[in-house]
């Protein structure tokens, strides 16, 4: 019992850019790309709730989280240092299906910190022999692109500022018909735009949703979304949904 709640050691803590951090924690349980954990890196009751953070990458004995400091909870997570302990509940959610035939052409589409869960997907897809291209948009300075390049993924970059890559939206760069499957994670408007383009082109698309949540395990009903199959919990039934379930 309680096998999914662990006191995990912080192994590595890196500042990736100004507000984005990479946290490596000790973990040796099962995990899939696109799943998430609830992270609690502080004592006491304030903040009250753990923070849902997607799995960025993992290996033997560790799991990486890439997160952006947005409020008090993520600020406290960013203050953890190697040797500290954090409470991990997970791995939670369904994750991406990476069990695809070799040679499948997959586009990963990320917006900002939405790039986080796509690295694990890229690793699993590359291991299965898929051809993977990352399309990613940032406000200004990009991050973690080298992790994708190291896996042999193509990278197409867009920024709002135009200082790096294409000036404009990442959706300007993507032609869904060039791919067999598209996985997307980022701001809701971006995900809907990508998903609708894919659905119109009859290309299977999978969307990783973000939501406020309290429990992470399907109990609080705080992260419910409409689907064509009725109300679903982002945490338990997702966070990954087929595009047609959300947008048709």
């Amino acid at each position: 019992m309680a096998k999914h709640v662990t006191q995990a050691p912080v192994l590595v803590m890196d500042r990736v850019t100004g507000t984005v951090w990479r946290l490596r924690a000790g973990w040796d349980g099962p995990v899939r790309a696109g799943q998430f954990f609830m992270l609690r890196g502080w004592q006491g009751k304030d903040p009250l709730l753990a923070r849902p953070v997607s799995v960025h990458d993992w290996g033997a004995g560790w799991v990486d989280f890439l997160f952006e400091v947005r409020g008090e909870g993520t600020r406290l997570l960013s203050a953890l240092r190697p040797g500290d302990t954090l409470e991990l509940t997970g791995a939670l959610g369904n994750g991406f299906d990476a069990d695809l035939p070799a040679g499948t052409k997959v586009a990963l589409v990320g917006g900002g910190i939405g790039v986080a869960p796509l690295l694990g997907a890229a690793r699993a897809l590359r291991a299965a022999g898929c051809a993977v291209t990352l399309f990613v948009g940032f406000r200004d300075e990009p991050y973690v692109l080298e992790s994708f390049e190291a896996l042999g993924c193509g990278v197409q970059l867009a920024t709002d500022s135009g200082r790096f890559g294409h000036k404009g939206f990442v959706t300007d760069l993507l032609n869904p018909t060039e791919f067999d499957r598209v996985l997307v994670c980022g701001p809701e408007v971006m995900m809907e735009k990508v998903a609708r383009a894919c659905l119109a082109a009859k290309v299977p698309v999978f969307v990783s949703r973000e939501s406020h949540m309290a429990c992470g395990i399907g109990a609080c009903l705080g992260c419910t979304c409409h689907t064509k199959n009725g109300p679903k919990s982002t945490c338990k039934d997702g966070p990954v949904f087929p595009g047609e379930v959300l947008y048709e």
């Binding site: 009751k45 709730l49 753990a50 429990c215 395990i217």
Partner: protein, 302 residues
């Protein structure tokens, strides 16, 4: 030294300990079985179910506050009949006493839901007249004594099951409300449901929640909830179930010393699955360590 007896009798139903998981924070029990030994609990209460299925509220449903949580779920549930056919059978097998939490948008809804539950094996019904997050029903019956009297009387007539009425801290006069429920046939009362609260998004200059107001729970409300439970325990002769911000065995024991027969753990379930079982174990340890042979001996000592 023998272990302390921490069993409690709640409206004729024996609980192995006084810890019940509160409605809306424990799903239908099944959600937690991967994370904890649910059978270690005294009771588990279902998400609020209504005669008519509900999607719940649109828009954002949660906002955190210092040591608190505001929710605007809006009684999302698959309906009483679906609950009886699908969720309840598995819930009953988990071991703890099951409370079916019943909401409604009208007195007729409450009656129809209670009649359906009456024909099941569920040992206890918790009547929710205190949900702040639905426009019709819920708290509409929980503010004024006369509205509560009518709905409790009618539901009482629709079921022989032990009936616990869940009260709102928004009641105009909570002690009078509890007495009214007792007079109308309630076998017990539970309190408090959430406090009506407001959060504003200053960038959008709009309320965070589509419904404007929502319900505040968590450790932030505990001292007020405890005072209210103390007052109600002195106003009625029926069992009182205390809840509101309990996150530890010490909190739970405070509510029992204030007079509660049993306690509910709500928002704390979101801190860490398994916390309710830790609280039950902590009550046992505290009693053992303090030479309290029977939990009933400390009830209402304050």
């Amino acid at each position: 030294m023998s272990k302390a007896d921490i069993r409690v009798n709640l409206c004729g139903v024996e609980l192995k300990n006084p810890v019940i998981t509160a409605s809306g924070t424990f799903g239908y029990g099944q959600e937690y079985t991967d994370f904890m030994d649910v059978s270690a609990l005294g009771g588990i209460c279902s998400k609020g179910v209504t005669y008519v299925p509900k999607y719940g509220n649109e828009g954002r449903r949660l906002a955190e506050t210092p040591a608190g949580l505001i929710n605007s779920i809006g009684l999302q549930n698959p309906g009483v009949q679906h609950f009886i056919d699908h969720e309840l059978p598995a819930m009953l097998k988990l071991g703890p006493a099951v409370l079916a939490n019943l909401g409604g948008a009208s007195i007729e809804d409450y009656e129809a839901g209670a009649a359906l539950l009456d024909a099941t094996e569920v040992p206890l019904i918790e009547l929710n007249i205190s949900c702040p997050n639905v426009k019709a029903g819920g708290i509409a019956y929980g503010v004024k004594c006369e509205s509560a009297r009518e709905v409790v009387r009618r539901v009482r007539a629709a079921t022989r099951k032990p009936l616990i009425v869940k009260l709102s801290p928004q009641a105009e006069d909570l002690a009078a409300m509890a007495r009214t429920c007792q007079e109308a046939g309630a076998d017990g009362v539970s309190l408090v449901n959430t406090f009506t609260a407001l959060a504003i998004d200053i960038e959008r200059r709009k309320p965070v929640f589509n419904n404007l107001y929502a319900g505040l729970s968590g450790p932030a409300i505990k001292p007020i909830a405890l005072r209210m439970v103390h007052q109600v325990c002195r106003a009625v002769q029926i069992p009182v179930v205390g809840l509101g911000g309990i996150t530890s065995a010490a909190d739970a024991i405070e509510f029992i010393m204030a007079g509660a027969t049993a306690i509910q753990v709500g928002t704390a379930n979101f801190l860490r699955p398994g916390i309710a079982a830790e609280i039950a174990a902590g009550i046992q340890t505290w009693c053992d360590d303090h030479g309290v042979k029977d939990l009933n001996k400390i009830r209402g000592c304050v």
